[in-house]
Symmetry: C2
Subunit: 115 residues, 2 copies
Amino acid sequence: MARSHSAAEKWSPKRAAPLFAALGDETRLRLVTKLGRAEPMSIAHLTHGTDLTRQAVTKHLRVLEGAGIVKSVKKGRESHFELAPQKIDDAKKWLDVLSAQWDDALERLRDLVER
Amino acid sequence: MARSHSAAEKWSPKRAAPLFAALGDETRLRLVTKLGRAEPMSIAHLTHGTDLTRQAVTKHLRVLEGAGIVKSVKKGRESHFELAPQKIDDAKKWLDVLSAQWDDALERLRDLVER
DNA sequence: CTCATGTGCAACCTCCTGGTTGCATATTAG
DNA sequence: CTAATATGCAACCAGGAGGTTGCACATGAG
């Protein structure tokens, strides 16, 4: 495998933090939820219903794109965005690893007390 | 159930965003990982191995505490922090709902094409 | 062709964040 | 008691985040 990141690095805080940071904004979570409908949408469309400017929404989309949570494709004069569920899975898995670590630790502590 | 939040609100971006925001920092993810060992640790202890000041670490811990990801208990002159795995699960579930929404949408679109 | 629509870019502004330092206070160690 | 340890609190700072406005430019509609 000629991958640029080791398996250990995959769970590094360094790689996971930007992902969570991108999700750590109400507006962006709303955008992501809309894009969860699996229909690529233009910036103008995504701006509708928001009390924000088109440019503000654009900035949020670029942040999501930078984190790999969203992909954009130019379609004529429009930019269509769609969700990249792989990154969502990455975030989920990071939390899974943490939970597993916690559960293991608890169990090990319990064993220690019992014997 | 006399809960203060409706079931729908539980998945609102408004509630989830602060959670992800708290996780969106490398230092905080490192702290959370350390606390995943299920052993309550003092601020001084958590500062060890970091290139940060004790106060910087303290601030991060307060942010995590504010998001409910961590709980603190004063033990003598020390403040001991431990993980609150429930919030981690909340974050994970939010991502699960999003993934499910995406998968459902994809399947529905596929059906639409096939018939 | 002409005009309206959808974006991109850049400058600017305000507020929050992550960090630091300095000092006060509460406990525990000897 | 006295000194060392573990925190808390407040002031201060630089830089980044989230938003806005203004203007240029490309493309689709009539």
